[in-house]
Amino acid sequence: MHEMGIISGVIDAVTASAQAAGATKVDKITLSIGEMTEVIMDCLTFAFEALSEGTMCEGAELKVNIVKPHSICLECSTEFDHDRFHLACPNCGSYETVLLEGREMTIDGIEVDVPTEGDDGADPSADGEASESMPTSDGDAAASGQTAGRTAPSADSPASCDERNPAPSACRDVPSPEPSAEPTL
């Protein structure tokens, strides 16, 4: 259940960037998560809902792009896609392979509301300049969600269920209080 720790890192980083841009609210957060990590999407969504409450990220859309594993064979230089369990080169059968993509854990970008001067963001569509502060259209959102390489964007739902571990029961733990380190000798 390290998704709590991961999401609290996301919220901290996003809040810092949004505040630096003068934003008052975060509308959307786009992450890329490699399939070879141990992150469970359901837990990520659960953690985000729980931890964003009362922050400027509350109510924001969490979009997660799942990055499929992609490796290169050191024997025959074939590049190939694979799943979490089958890493052998499909061309020569070698296990001497190096993972090129699939362990990503990245905040790709965010969309934020920035109140315009003298307007306080009350009606951001009032003038041309302010229209930038509106949540982007679907087309823009899709463009911002793409990353280089073989990123496979998830469904339109905020975070799709990870097929390999659909059980939400793993989401029971709570974030830790300050850990203590005590010398015993």
Binding site: V14, L87, A88, Y95, M105, P175, S176, E178, A181, T184
Partner: protein, 216 residues
């Protein structure tokens, strides 16, 4: 307004881990992060490793547990400095916890630090602690199918210890299938079959580790 971030989510942890790695290297300390399930014999393996290496190296241990200092007491009873980290519910150790523990240890005096991570085959694999090597322990009673169920931990480990081999006669554990599955996930990781509480097989593992400590 769109803001392009392209920032690693674990940026803070990774930066802290890099600082720790630098500090360890400066002090010529080799650091091992032990990953395993609860009850697989992590503490027994640490005790057996200490026994095998203590004549040549100064060893310190960082014990990660959700609660209690039972394990740290077992280690310190052997005259080895041990620091207990209680994560208070968290399922894995993070670099900032290690930093606090390391601040308590005398790095200049140490050659080897063994970090016993929280018993868990999933979450600790995603966190860099500044270690030189993640080492995975699987015990025979857990079953030979674990590489198929938890591939991540076998992939990130530089060596795999198969513990409790003295129980092989009573468990239906297919050693050959286990070795094949580990090899397919991680062709370069050696597998060390040991029975930590009996001392069997510990020398091969200790020799492998000693070679790395001398180079640190």
């Amino acid at each position: 307004m769109e803001i392009d971030l392209k920032k690693p989510i674990l940026d803070k942890n990774d930066k802290l881990a890099a600082e720790l790695r630098e500090r360890f290297a400066k002090n010529h300390v080799y650091v091992v992060d032990l990953l395993a399930s609860p009850g697989s014999g992590k503490t027994s393996t640490i005790l057996a490793t200490i026994e095998a290496l203590r004549d040549e190296f100064n060893i310190g241990v960082i014990e990660g547990d959700i609660a209690s200092n039972v394990d740290a007491k077992k280690i310190s009873n052997q005259g080895i400095p041990a620091v207990q980290i209680n994560t208070g519910g968290a399922c894995h150790l993070e670099a900032d916890m290690i930093k606090r523990a390391v601040d308590v240890l005398d790095l200049e005096r140490l050659d080897l630090i063994i970090i016993e991570n929280v018993g868990n085959l999933v979450c600790p694999t995603d966190f860099d602690l500044g270690e030189n090597a993640k080492i995975m322990i699987l015990s025979v009673p857990e079953g030979d199918d674990k590489p198929l169920k938890y591939p991540g931990v076998f992939q990130v480990s530089q060596a795999v210890i198969l513990n409790k081999t003295d129980t092989l006669p009573v468990f239906n554990f297919d050693t050959e299938a286990f070795e094949k599955a580990v090899h397919e996930l991680n062709p370069h990781a050696p597998i060390f079959p040991i029975a930590a509480t009996k001392g069997t097989g510990v020398d091969d593992w200790a020799d492998w580790l000693a070679e790395r400590i001398r180079q640190a």
